[in-house]
Each structure stands twice: as structure tokens, then as C-alpha cells.
């Protein structure tokens, strides 16, 4: 065996017969095609699972952190408004729920920033500066809530501060939530680019399929040639090579299936971002309605009333049954679970990659040399 392998790697003198030359050419072509198929299969596998790793470990968690931070901030705002509306603010300030949610928002942003610092992907590195901006805006927001809390003795001023804080979050020219949305848009755009880069285009599919078809054709041609020249029914080593090649194709197909799962994960994540961005949560709707009620009460007591901006807000957030928008909370939770499942599924076949070098090695070093070398040896010094 060792002798055969060494011989295959360092060819002897050129065969002197046509059959010998043909056998030699078929052998070299089969070995070259094996290397090409093994390499392309490995590259396809690495590309897909490399992307799965990046998406699962860095890009998706960064997006989910930003979504969670946004959601926690909205919950914090709603909790603070609720505390003012119920009168609890005089004893407990904006409340424990506000503090918890604000802390949660802050922590999620820190985690997203850490992933940005650790990740090399464009999805995370592009998010670094906007995350820092959001952290600064979060400080401005909590400072306004702090002012509102400090002014609980003067309800008008407290309500005005609360309005300013919530306005900073929701409305105006550059509200905090819009900054969150912009960041999520950038992140999902980068995610889509990552997934698209590992997907099978017609070109990359051809690069993978053509060598496989060629090597199959070569194996068939070789079997036919050997049958005609040497009256052998079938060459068992080349048959094993064919079986190994089929195995190699199946293993590589797993990567294509994983790419499909990855694309499903991407679509689910895009949907989560879309819902988080476009659909108000139940906490948000409730909080804004309560703020509208607080503002309406203050406007009624003001000589000259409120300005059009406040009046419009109050009118838009009247709590009526038929104007309650679609609530996205449950849908987002379901989608999050769906994302977890599909990204897990996408990554579960990664260990099959070790079969690629094993099968390629078997074809290259064992099946083809064992299948052809004895015949080449026969014709080495003999004219046809």
C-alpha cells in the first residue's frame, strides 16, 4: 500500500503504449478532479457554517440585544408614566419597574457594544457608534425622568418633564426610538449581506456541481475503458471511489440545507425587527394613553390651553377600544423561538465537515491508486 501511494505521488518513467498513456491520463485527471471536488466541497461547507457561526454568535445576538434594549426602554417609559398617573411617584419615584427596565435597556446596549467590539463583521462594527449615541441619549432620557421625579411636589412641572422625556423617546426630529430603528435597519442590512454572501448563486452552484459531474463522467469512462481493454466486469476500487464521491456530495448537500435554514433564520429575524420597529407593544400603547390623560388634565387647567403639538398627541392617544393598534408582543415571542430553532438547526450538521477530507483522502490516496495502478504497471514497459 505504502509503495503504491509513493508511486502515485512520484510517477515513474512515461508509459510507452497508448493504453498505458490513456490509463495514466485517466489517473491524473481523476486525481486532479478529486482535489477540485474536495476543495470546492470544503469551501462550500466552510462558507456556510462560517456564516452560521457569525450569525448565531455575533450578528443575531447583537440585533436581539438592540431589540431587547428598545423594548426595555419602552417598558421603562410606560412604567414611569404609570407611576405618575397612579400617584405612586410621591412615595416610590418612577418605580422599581422603571429602574429595572432602564437597567435592562442599558445592559443590553452594553452587551451589543461588546459584541460590536469583539465582532469583525460589518453587522457589528457598523453598530458601534450608534450604540454609543443611544447610550448618551439614554442618559438624557433618564435625566429628564429624574427631573420629573424631583418635581413631584409641583405636578405641572413634573408632568412637563415627563412629557419631555417621553417626547425625546417617541417624537420630535430625532427621537430615541428612531435611532434604535436606524441601528436595527443597519444591522439587518448587514445580516442580509452576510447571508447573501454564503448563499448558492448559479455561479457558485456550477463551480461545485461541474467538477462532481466531471469526476462521475471520468469514473464511468474509466470503468468502460477498463472493461473494453481488460475484459473486467467492474473495477471494485473505482466503484468504491464512486460511492465515496456520492457520500461527499451528500455531505456537501447538508451545507446547502443549512444555508436554507440560515435563510429562514434571517427571514424570521427580519420579521422580528420589522414588528419591533413598526408595531407598538401593549406597554407602549398603555403608557402613551396614560401620558395623554395626564397632559389633558394639565391642559384643562391652563389659561390658554396647550399648543397644537400637545393637543394632537392627546387626541391621537385617547383610549378607545376601536383605535387600539395591533399588539405585537406575543407574535415577537413566537418568532424569537422560531429563530432560535432555525439557527440551531442550521448549525447542527457542522461536524459532518470532517467527512470531506476523509472521503477526499480515501478517493485520492486509496481508491483511485488501487483501482488504476496495477493496470498502469502492466503496460509500463510493454508496447500494445
Amino acid at each position: 500500500m505504502a509503495n503504491l501511494v509513493t508511486s502515485a505521488a512520484t510517477p515513474p518513467t512515461t508509459p510507452k503504449t497508448t493504453t498505458g498513456k490513456t490509463l495514466w491520463i485517466l489517473c491524473v485527471l481523476l486525481l486532479i478532479a478529486t482535489v477540485v471536488v474536495g476543495s470546492t466541497s470544503w469551501l462550500v461547507f466552510q462558507k456556510v457554517y462560517g456564516t452560521v457561526d457569525t450569525v448565531r454568535d455575533t450578528t443575531a445576538p447583537a440585533i436581539l440585544d438592540v431589540i431587547a434594549a428598545r423594548d426595555a426602554l419602552v417598558q421603562a417609559d410606560s412604567a414611569a408614566i404609570d407611576s405618575f398617573q397612579s400617584g405612586e411617584v410621591t412615595l416610590s419615584g418612577p418605580g422599581l419597574e422603571y429602574q429595572n427596565q432602564l437597567t435592562s435597556a442599558s445592559q443590553h446596549l452594553v452587551q451589543a457594544a461588546e459584541r460590536s467590539a469583539a465582532g469583525n463583521s460589518s453587522a457589528t462594527s457598523s453598530g458601534s457608534q450608534p450604540i454609543q449615541l443611544l447610550e448618551a441619549l439614554l442618559e438624557s432620557y433618564s435625566s429628564l425622568i429624574g427631573q420629573a421625579d424631583a418635581h413631584t411636589g409641583t405636578p405641572l412641572l413634573g408632568t412637563t418633564d415627563l412629557w419631555s422625556a417621553s417626547h425625546l423617546l417617541h417624537a420630535g426630529d430625532s427621537p430615541i426610538l428612531t435611532e434604535f430603528n436606524n441601528l436595527m435597519d443597519d444591522q439587518t442590512s448587514a445580516l442580509n449581506d452576510q447571508v447573501a454572501a454564503s448563499s448558492m448563486t448559479t455561479e457558485s452552484l456550477l463551480q461545485w456541481v461541474v467538477p462532481i459531474v466531471l469526476i462521475f463522467a471520468l469514473l464511468v469512462v474509466t470503468q468502460v475503458f477498463l472493461r473494453r481493454r481488460f475484459r473486467r466486469a467492474i473495477n471494485p476500487w473505482l466503484l468504491l471511489a464512486t460511492a465515496a464521491l456520492i457520500g461527499l456530495s451528500i455531505v456537501t448537500s447538508l451545507a446547502i440545507a443549512s444555508q436554507h435554514q440560515l435563510e429562514n433564520s434571517r427571514d424570521t429575524l427580519n420579521e422580528v425587527v420589522r414588528l419591533s420597529r413598526d408595531q407598538p407593544s401593549s406597554a407602549d400603547v398603555r403608557g402613551q394613553q396614560e401620558l395623554g390623560e395626564l397632559m389633558e388634565k394639565e391642559c384643562a387647567g391652563a389659561n390658554g390651553g396647550c399648543g397644537p403639538t400637545v393637543n394632537k398627541f392627546v387626541a391621537e392617544h385617547k383610549s378607545t377600544d376601536n383605535t387600539t393598534p395591533e399588539i405585537s408582543d406575543g407574535r415577537i415571542t413566537t418568532l424569537n423561538k422560531g429563530f432560535d430553532n432555525s439557527i440551531m438547526n442550521a448549525g447542527e450538521n457542522v461536524n459532518w465537515k470532517y467527512f470531506i477530507p476523509i472521503l477526499t483522502g480515501l478517493i485520492f490516496f486509496v481508491f483511485i491508486p488501487f483501482g488504476l495502478w496495477p493496470r498502469i504497471e502492466e503496460y509500463r514497459y510493454r508496447p500494445r
Binding site: 457608534q129 429628564l144 425625546l168 426630529d173 394639565e298 391642559c299 390658554g304 396647550c306 403639538t309
Partner: protein, 433 residues
């Protein structure tokens, strides 16, 4: 035959080379790019106007621009600076903020970028502003606003003849007697609510006690608890009582002047800087005509005849790149300064070389004339104070409106902050002709 083939190949290579060189020369970003951060956004239409200036710059120099407008200017810029990725050029509406970056050594001097503005080109106030209280040049005024003015609707009443503060108060009382609300007032301006009230107090102090007292206070040398400052707050209290202080707290500054144009008017007089012209037309009716539908008269002179308060958006260089230097140089030219006023109004140049014909109406011409010919111009105190002081000032305005009886306590607290921030104050003296 071979000779012909060689010639063809040579011609082909020459053509390829020529094409490459041509492409390289005509590539838009061959001259590089410059990033600019400012507070003008699409929402108020100002971004479009400023981008006209930048587009002309690109056309003239080949340098590309990357513009970002944000209303969260302070948060945005500070996070970029902390991150070590500031924009090449930032245009700030507050000298106090700019001064903070100067103290952190984040600004590049413009001494070797543009020449010191000569006296013929600017009234003395503007070089003072551009030097940020130092001997070096650090900023270029991109556009300025005239303060110390009061807007009214000429269709409702002719220009009031108001020479003194008492006459102004009396005018308000006359309007109130007829059942009208004299003053349009709104403090809401997240996250800097309260600045319209701060503008009022500055004007009262300047015009009742003169430039000496104003400069002392604006540079942190006059206590908030001084009789002059306290008097200014109290005088403003007479206005807010008539305007409805609760309502002022619950009204955005952009909404405040709107009722002036309803029938019957919801209010009659609006104390706002010159940039309110754009808001009137954007928020109310784009057909409102300066001079016909709205006009202004100066804040009653008192001890400071012919004095105006001003504010400015100042461009500063955070990255010393050739492209940034080119843009700074360009922004300082009369040609660049004429583009924005000419393209839609609402912006005013302080460069005397800008032809007055660029201003589209009589009111704008009048504002421009005051900006370059006024006897004295004083930079808005709140805009030049240290950021902590400025924020406390605005917050005190809101607190005072909610309960005027706590004035002494508020002034004590403000003075405590003044003492704590003593070293950070910027001294921009009023500039005289």
C-alpha cells in the same frame, strides 16, 4: 503586417491608459471627502438649504461631502468624540459646547486655514465669537440669527411705537383689556426646553442695565442673586403672568406663534429670534409673507439703545484634513455665505461683503442690516455659558414658570452652579461698530 499589428497593440495600450487616466481625473471622489455634522435636519427643511452650500463646494473643489443632521447634536457629537471618531467638521449652535471641546483639545486652530477676518468684513462681535475668547481662530460663523426682536402681525395692528420696557408692558396690558392674550409663549423644546424664557431674561437684563452688566453676568462675574439679575426675572414674570405661564409650559416653542395668524388672533406679540420666520411658514402657512403677514420691531432699548443680542451656528474643525481645511475656507467666503440666504431665506450672513440682494424680502434685508450695522451686538449668554450652567438656567426658567414664588431659591441654586463652574466660563465681550 507585423509592424501594423504592433502599432495596433500600442494604440490599444495607449487608449487603455488614457481612459484610465481620464477616469481617475473625473472620478468624483478623487479629491477625497469631508464629513460634516450639524443640527439641521430634513424635518425643518434646513438640511436641504445647507446641502445647497455643500453641493456648490463639491462642484467648485471636487471634494465629496458626507452630511449628517441631528437634533441630538450634543449627545451625537460627544459620543463620536469619546469614540475617537469625530466628524471632520461640526457646526454647533452653542459656543459654550464648542468651548468645552476646545478645553479638551479637540479643536484645531484655523489660523493657518483662513486669514483673520478683516474689520471691513465683519462687525467686531463676530471675530470675537470665532476666536472663542482666545487669541486664535477656532470657528467660522455659517449663519447668524438676530435676537432682541418682537414679532407681530401688521394686519392686526401697525408697528407699535415702543421705546421703553414700561411701554412694552403697557402695550400688553392694552391688548389684555380688549380680551386678547398679548404674548405668544411656549417653552417646549425637547431636550432643551426653556430656552425661549432664557432669551427673554437675557434681553431684559441687557436692555435695562446695559452691556456692562450683561457682559459681567454672561462671563460669570455677576452673581445670579444680584439685584439686576433678580429684577430681570421679576420683570419677565409680569409678561408670563399675562401670557399664561401654565400654558407656556405646555406649549412647544414652534407652536407658540401660530395663534398670531388665526382669526381672531390667539396672541399678538411673539419674542423670538429671526429664525422663527422659517417656522411661521413651515408650521402655519407657506404663503405667509414677511412684511405683510408678519414683521418685527426691536426690543425696547432702555439702557442699551441700538443693541441686539445674536446667536450663531459656528463651524469648527475636529479633524485637520486637507478636505476639512478646504471646506472651512470655503464656508468663510462671501460666495458660500450668500447661497443659503439666496436659496430660501431664514439664514443670515454676518459677512458685510454678502450682497443684500440675496435676501428675498424687506424683513430679511432689515434683519441682515441689523446684523452687520448694529451699534452693538452681544452674543446670547445662555449659548456661551458652560453647558451645565446653561442647562440649569433653562430648567430654572421652567421651574419659575410653574411657581414664581420660588425665585430666590432658584437664583441661589443657579449661583451655586456658577461658582462650581467658574473656571469653565467663556468671556465673549459685546462687539461695537
Amino acid at each position: 503586417m507585423i509592424h501594423t499589428r504592433h502599432r495596433a497593440i500600442s494604440l490599444f495600450i495607449v487608449a487603455i491608459l488614457a481612459n484610465t487616466i481620464l477616469a481617475a481625473c473625473s472620478t468624483p471622489d478623487s479629491a477625497g471627502s469631508v464629513s460634516v455634522l450639524a443640527s439641521w435636519t430634513d424635518a425643518d427643511g434646513e438640511q436641504q438649504s445647507f446641502e445647497k452650500v455643500l453641493k456648490q463646494f463639491r462642484q467648485d473643489t471636487g471634494v465629496q461631502f458626507i452630511y449628517q443632521g441631528t437634533r441630538s447634536m450634543n449627545d451625537d457629537l460627544s459620543s463620536r468624540v469619546q469614540n475617537g471618531t469625530p466628524p471632520d467638521i461640526a457646526i454647533l449652535p452653542s459656543l459654550g459646547d464648542l468651548h468645552q471641546y476646545l478645553n479638551q483639545n479637540k479643536l484645531h486652530s484655523l489660523n493657518d486655514v483662513i486669514e483673520e477676518p478683516d474689520r471691513d468684513e465683519y462687525i467686531k462681535q463676530w471675530p470675537e465669537v470665532q476666536r472663542l475668547g482666545t487669541d486664535s481662530l477656532y470657528g467660522v460663523v455659517v449663519k447668524a440669527s438676530l435676537k432682541s426682536i418682537i414679532w407681530y402681525d401688521p394686519r392686526q395692528r401697525p408697528e407699535p411705537e415702543v421705546q421703553t420696557w414700561d411701554q412694552l408692558v403697557a402695550l400688553g396690558e392694552t391688548i389684555a383689556k380688549t380680551g386678547g392674550r398679548p404674548w405668544c409663549l411656549g417653552m417646549g423644546s425637547t431636550p432643551v426646553s426653556g430656552w425661549p424664557g432664557a432669551d427673554w431674561i437675557e434681553d431684559i437684563l441687557l436692555h435695562q442695565f446695559g452691556t456692562g452688566v450683561y457682559q459681567q453676568w454672561a462671563s460669570g462675574n455677576l452673581p445670579w442673586t444680584s439685584p439686576q439679575v433678580k429684577k430681570a426675572w421679576q420683570e419677565w414674570g409680569t409678561i408670563t403672568t399675562a401670557a399664561g405661564s401654565r400654558s407656556a409650559l405646555l406649549t412647544d416653542w414652534t407652536d407658540a406663534g401660530g395663534p398670531m395668524f388665526t382669526n381672531p388672533p390667539g396672541c399678538y406679540l411673539d419674542h423670538q429670534p429671526s429664525f422663527i420666520m422659517t417656522i411661521y411658514r413651515n408650521n402655519r402657512n407657506e404663503n405667509l409673507k414677511p412684511g405683510t403677514d408678519f414683521d418685527f420691531f426691536p426690543f425696547p432699548a432702555g439702557a442699551a439703545d441700538g443693541n441686539f443680542k445674536v446667536s450663531a451656528d459656528v463651524a469648527a474643525m475636529f479633524n485637520n484634513t486637507p478636505q476639512a481645511r478646504k471646506l472651512i475656507k470655503y464656508l468663510a467666503t462671501a460666495k458660500a455665505q450668500a447661497i443659503w440666504p439666496h436659496s430660501g431665506g431664514g439664514a443670515f450672513s454676518v459677512n458685510k461683503k454678502v450682497n443684500q440682494d440675496v435676501y428675498p424680502d424687506g424683513v430679511s434685508k432689515k434683519i441682515s442690516s441689523d446684523l452687520i450695522n448694529a451699534k452693538t451686538l452681544c452674543y446670547g449668554a445662555a449659548d456661551s455659558m458652560p453647558p451645565t450652567m446653561s442647562e440649569a438656567f433653562r430648567r430654572a426658567v421652567l421651574a419659575y414658570l410653574s411657581d414664581p414664588n420660588q425665585l430666590d431659591q432658584l437664583l441661589d441654586e443657579l449661583d451655586t452652579i456658577r461658582k462650581q463652574t467658574r473656571t469653565e466660563w467663556l468671556a465673549i465681550p459685546c462687539g461695537h461698530q
